[in-house]
Symmetry: C2
Subunit: 400 residues, 2 copies
């Protein structure tokens, strides 16, 4: 069976377990995941039977791309009755039970939702986003191969950045060099993020005090950015000698993202920052030792917290003070913020096919951020490290 139809079948299986009659998929990334096309429209997946993709535009292109039946959406007015005709048994259930329809409440705007509610009066709506995100959490071999390719390209960009690093170079200039390398190597020009109001450019190259500035971005190191209209990532501050340079970069090739971080310096880091960096590698090694099927996600986080506490660096871990984030890593795939999250409350046991970016980092306000981030695929008996860039603090060209 082909990959996408097996995804729909797995969703149907979960729908039956949870009593959902129909899933309406609307978000571009979820559409691509289930049918191979991100043309705009509504994908209806019934608990049993064939899915239909009703497309607004481009119908021509969706018909080419999707692996299931594609119909023109037409006007929303007649849409409800077309649906009840397409799925009569779902809308006229024995015993007069209410039809239960799930949608992606985590991304679907209220306006779009109300339009759907208007088209399907009388049904009961429920949030289907966790269902879909849990399915997407387990990657196929093909998906992992795509992430491997992004990992290969980001390594080229990383080595180029290390060679280009100079004292006095603004962070954003170095970021522009990285972006040019990845774009010439297949990067789509953007990285997708699911969370409301979250944006990611291509990560963040941040040096010294600028890297340590807190931001709204839901990650351990935000960065100064270019101003209040772009208040994260790289800024115009020139990179100085003997300060940590956090190179947290990613790219997106054929839809799949990679996320990696390395620490560099022009000259030498102060001893305490070097030790903090070494602790980030030690946390990584100990986390790797726990990467096997069955280990609950949250235990990776709590073990890291304990390791850092013993080393006396709790206050600096994953951000500083009130701006600390409460996780050690996150799933990646079509989006940068996938499941699982390595955080308290995430009891998912690790499973083969999960792909997780693990990012122990230490923030020193006014001085900088040090740390490392690798992405891993969980395998039957452990893990595959997808990140290929060399570890260790990269010593760039001489300071002067």
């Amino acid at each position: 069976m082909d990959e996408r139809s097996s995804r729909r079948q797995r969703l149907q299986h979960k729908m039956k377990e949870t009593g959902i009659d129909l899933c309406v998929v609307t978000q571009n990334v979820d559409l691509y995941y289930f049918v191979g096309s991100m043309q705009t429209g509504y994908l209806f997946i019934p608990a049993e039977g064939e899915s239909i993709f009703y497309v607004r535009r481009s119908f021509v292109r969706a018909s080419d791309e999707a692996d299931i039946a594609v119909e023109e959406l037409g006007s929303m007015r007649g849409f409800g009755s077309r649906l009840t005709q397409a799925y009569p048994e779902l809308f006229r259930k024995p015993g007069g039970e209410q039809t239960i329809v799930a949608a992606e409440y985590d991304v679907l705007p209220v306006q779009q939702f109300q339009r759907l509610e208007g088209a399907l009066p009388g049904v009961k709506w429920v949030d289907g986003s966790t269902l879909i995100r849990e399915l997407r959490m387990i990657k196929s071999p093909g998906e992992i191969a795509a992430i491997r390719e992004s990992a290969r390209v980001i390594d080229i960009a990383y080595e180029t950045a290390i060679k280009a690093l100079r004292v006095g170079m603004p962070e954003v200039e170095l970021m522009a060099i990285v972006e040019s390398v990845i774009r010439h190597n297949g990067h789509m020009g953007l990285m997708r993020v699911r969370g409301y109001n979250q944006e990611i450019i291509t990560g963040m190259i941040g040096a010294g005090s600028a890297a340590a500035m807190p931001t709204y971005f839901d990650g351990p190191a935000g960065g100064q950015g270019l101003g209040p209209a772009s208040p994260q990532s790289s800024g115009r501050r020139p990179i100085e000698a003997n300060e940590p340079i956090l190179i947290d970069i990613g790219c997106c090739i054929d839809g799949y993202v990679i996320d990696q971080t390395r620490t560099a310096v022009i000259g030498e880091l102060p001893a305490d920052l070097r030790e903090a960096y070494e602790l980030s590698e030690a946390v990584m090694r100990r986390t790797e030792a726990m990467l096997k099927p069955g280990v609950p996600c949250e235990e990776l986080y709590t073990a890291a917290l304990e390791q850092v506490r013993v080393a006396g660096l709790s206050e600096h871990f994953m951000g500083f003070g009130g701006d600390q984030v409460k996780f050690l890593g996150h799933g990646i795939g079509l989006e940068i913020d996938e499941l699982p999250v390595l955080a308290k409350g995430f009891r998912y046991p690790l499973q083969p096919g999960m792909v997780i970016a693990i990012e122990p980092k230490f923030t020193f306000p006014g001085r900088g951020v040090v740390g490392i981030e690798n992405s891993y695929a969980i395998t039957e008996d452990g893990f595959e490290k997808l990140t290929v860039s060399r570890e260790g603090i990269a010593a760039a060209a001489a300071p002067f």
Copy 2:
């Protein structure tokens, strides 16, 4: 009075007119517009009195950036009672009337909305997105100056692209050159778009048949893209001699975008495509003649339709066949898809301060897209053309 407090006052004025007691602003761009910060949280603007920005993160940064009172959001549990204490007269109205609260239904996800509903039981929720988008439609002199700067930078990128154009160069290579120029000149690395599922990278450089491919993107020329996971914009097809090269590019500096299109060729265009290009300039000239306060937006579109009909190119205008889009232009500002839209049903009269990208284009399936796009600010007695790039078909280097 400072610009942002005058924006809030204008919103309050509109709220009173429409009977809204409280606006909850949540989207990053709207937050930036009203208070100067895009840290995550909830901004409450009452119909009368002081606004409060409740911030999740970063509180430190929001306190720096915002021009109003900032409070830590804390847990959602106690949030409702904090709000009713902050605005007692709004939540206990004389006569026991229901409090009316508006939110941005066009972008707010259902999950976030339900969280707000839970925090404020008993109020009546309404869609506030048109109210906010209509406010943002009229730009201040400072906003127009920011767009002028983006227009200046995109012209540098355009001239660089024309110099770099070579036969056999993949579209995406030329796009990478444009992106590098704009990034080194202040582009934030992304362009914001409001519409659900809409993405924009930095526009599209598309040549020949690839440019004419329809896409989900709500614009007249989509492009082939890099594959079904990125099904729009530039692709890997090599640019050939004697075919139209549509250079539809933009950038975003200090939050404000520009959007411009030019047509180039290596060698010479076939006569009918050259004539179609000339018609796009003629449409532009006639549209310019209508750019003055008081003219209804939709009339610009219907006049263009008529001009194109008379010339016999209706079928090719703004896309081809079933994939045509039904507008001539759109507002730009902090987002690429602002009000007004130059389309039927948009009866807004042109007003000083509107900034509109006008983009007459003609699509020839299998052959390419030709056209032009300029951005204009409406002034007291006409318009200011913000786009500075030279018009006309750019003849690039010799074909061989």
